[in-house]
Subunit: 301 residues, 2 copies
């Protein structure tokens, strides 16, 4: 049994909390809103289509948390990570090990600097959609790939074995940076385009014109991130479009409901890296400016 | 009195027919559909908000037309111009002079080859929206600039004076290619972006991100078309966005209702020119492929 705190009550946070509780770990979920805290306290966390509700300890993110965890899983979006990193640096969130599962790579520099901690980064391949404050729809079963950013490799391998279960497989990945880079490429191609065109993931493969734009974004990301497995990666991207064909990407949803998107962490990161390396990325720049502009029109408040 | 035939029963065709009839010219409008022919025959052509209906002769485009006109104004979109050019070449449409008012420049090569004809090209600055088969909403009063592609300069100047009226000013423009090039730049910036973002013309100036993309498209078009009056042209584009702020661009409307857009004549032309001149136009390529792709999803039939 691992004592786990999960920071973030979004779809991924609820998914982790549900499955890790099922696997008999002691799970505390840390959420931002009082209403969500109350809801989870009363009804536990459940998956749609399943009657079973998982009893999970729940805390508000500005509560004083006295205990130290074996593992803290940070599931908030990269747009909200600054505050979590601050709380870790201040010792308000204490654990032996941290697992970060954000899209993008912009946070890696700051989390690498944590003193005396084991830092893991993960790539979540699940599809998940939050239905309510305590219920999540598991739209696509995948796996969680976890790699070592800092710390002891063997310890991580042991942890991964403890966390994994049949319906929620957790894999050890040898090259942590490679897995987040690859996820970044996938996100840089699928997310901004589905948001811009207001289409579902599968529709990207609908015609040669969309595919032409995808390939341009793909090429730019691969060059900037210095990845070489072009054929495999392109195959992976089209596979994901097919396997999540009827899903709306998170960026498409965020843009539609007027929430802040992850465009900074995804295309913004590629543009900043490209600038440093003096590489031209016009297609990535196009989607970046377009999503920023459309957000400015649709964002609430 | 000039004997004028107007080819095309769209918004611009109806607008020309209405105002030129008001200015006491003898106008025949040539439309494609029988229903539109009947409608105009019965009720004439009118502007929204005005009771007066202009009696205009109307013919179907596959009728045999025995008479020769002083002037034929071709108002069909560039996507439909092939057939008109064919009918002119076959002598089915006969006139001393032709005025073409298409967006884009792709048709200039073929119309320049007409034998023994005066060929004029025009840029329409009016805003117009077809309400029904015989009614048009004049959404923005502008002017029609006409320049000489082939023929006698003085003859054109005389014609322009005959056509012009207070509410429908027609101007002589010294450099025909320059005015269509400038219109092309304006269309290449405003039309694809408003269609892609599904916004009104005025919203393009809503934030720095949209403006950044506009400027990139603007730069590419200016370089490819070899235009130098950068400051004036940019000022003109922003002026048009403001003066037509609440209008949907024709491309945005075409895309929404599932009609073929003019993307080939606008961005497609720039891309083909750029290729010949070995100039890179990634932003124009992005909007071109995007509009083509979105059309393939929304097009009817």
């Amino acid at each position: 049994m691992v004592r786990i705190a999960i920071v973030g009550g979004g779809a991924i946070g609820l998914l982790f909390a549900n499955y890790l509780t099922k696997a008999n770990h002691h799970v505390t979920i840390i959420v931002r809103r009082k209403e969500q805290e109350m809801e989870i306290k009363k009804h536990g966390i459940s998956l749609t289509g399943q009657e079973e509700q998982m009893d999970v300890e729940v805390r508000q993110s500005n509560d004083f948390i006295e205990q130290e965890f074996d593992l803290i899983v940070v599931t908030v979006k990269q747009t909200a990570i600054k505050e979590v990193v601050l709380n870790i640096n201040r010792g308000i969130l204490r654990a032996n090990a941290f697992l970060f599962v954000q899209n993008g790579m912009g946070h890696l520099t700051s989390i690498r600097q944590f003193k005396n901690k084991s830092i893991y980064i993960g790539v979540v391949e699940h599809g998940a959609k939050r239905i309510s404050d305590n219920m999540v729809h598991h739209t696509g079963i995948g796996k969680v790939n976890v790699g070592l950013l800092k710390g002891n490799e063997h310890e991580l391998q042991v942890l991964v074995k403890q966390l994994t279960s049949e319906k929620f497989p957790v894999n050890y990945a040898q090259n942590a940076e490679k897995i987040v880079k690859e996820k970044l490429v996938i996100n840089a191609v699928i997310n901004p385009l589905t948001a811009l065109y207001r289409i579902k993931n599968g529709q990207l493969l609908h015609n040669e014109h969309f595919i032409a734009v995808m390939k341009k974004l793909f090429d730019e990301a691969m060059v900037v991130l210095n990845l070489e497995n072009r054929a495999d990666m392109w195959e992976e991207i089209t596979r994901i479009c097919r396997s999540t064909a009827s899903n709306d990407s998170s960026m498409q949803v965020d843009l539609t409901v007027g929430r802040e998107t992850e465009i900074e962490a995804i295309s913004g990161y590629i543009i900043r890296e490209a600038k440093e390396k003096n590489i031209s990325v016009p297609f990535t720049t196009f989607v970046y400016e377009s999503i920023k502009g459309m957000s400015a029109i649709t964002e609430r408040g």
